[in-house]
Symmetry: C2
Subunit: 119 residues, 2 copies
Amino acid sequence: MQKNPVQCQFVAALDSIVGKWKPMILYHLLQGEPLRFNELRRLLPDITQRMLTLHLRELEEEELVKRVIYPQIPPKVEYSITEYGKSLSPILESLHQWGAAHVERKRLKEAKNEQTETD
Amino acid sequence: MQKNPVQCQFVAALDSIVGKWKPMILYHLLQGEPLRFNELRRLLPDITQRMLTLHLRELEEEELVKRVIYPQIPPKVEYSITEYGKSLSPILESLHQWGAAHVERKRLKEAKNEQTETD
DNA sequence: TGGTATAGTATGAAAAAAGGTACTGTAACG
DNA sequence: CGTTACAGTACCTTTTTTCATACTATACCA
């Protein structure tokens, strides 16, 4: 935690969102349906078991995600978004939209550059 | 850049914001006044020259920040937020607010824990 | 003449994040 | 009887990010 209170708030918020896979995990869980460990794995094709576990544990620790173990064999564990986690929804939505516009902007710019290069 | 388009959008947005000092740099520049390199350094007491340079270059590359060099000696360089950079303002504002609430929430929880421990 | 301020760059080290592979136990399926 | 699915853990390596320190050139001030 930083000393500077303003930074501290950014850091606290970003820690919850940042991590190579966290936004996607939250995004999928925000769809509403609880998801099992391997369902999430299939939704995030390139994630390793290790990274999925680590990120889920962090999200759980911050009470953004809830983990429910069904004592069965083979095991069943369901992850779902918490009420508190839902409060992140507008932020993720804004990020998603801004990101889409940003990608499009870059794409257009590159297209323009290629255009002038072939002139 | 990821293949998954949804992730890609999050990544694009977060790349612009994330970095240990980026939100703070943007935050200060969003106050409106252009700032010189060393003014920013003084506002971010713990940043190294190297990190400030690197982050400013990245922000410049994404056209979120504008860099103006005044050919003087000793040198004078002014950094300011671009119009495009201003479009990040609502996101940073949301992050800032959510972060503040998150910090407060944790604080209360810890206080509660200490309370029950001494019971 | 020596110190200060400006805006950096260069180099190497340390820390943090992410990835890769192998392994666990049990049940159901074929 | 071998394979698959489940939800992980253990261990080690690689990549990325950040940090620390020294260095540059020039002008001004005392």
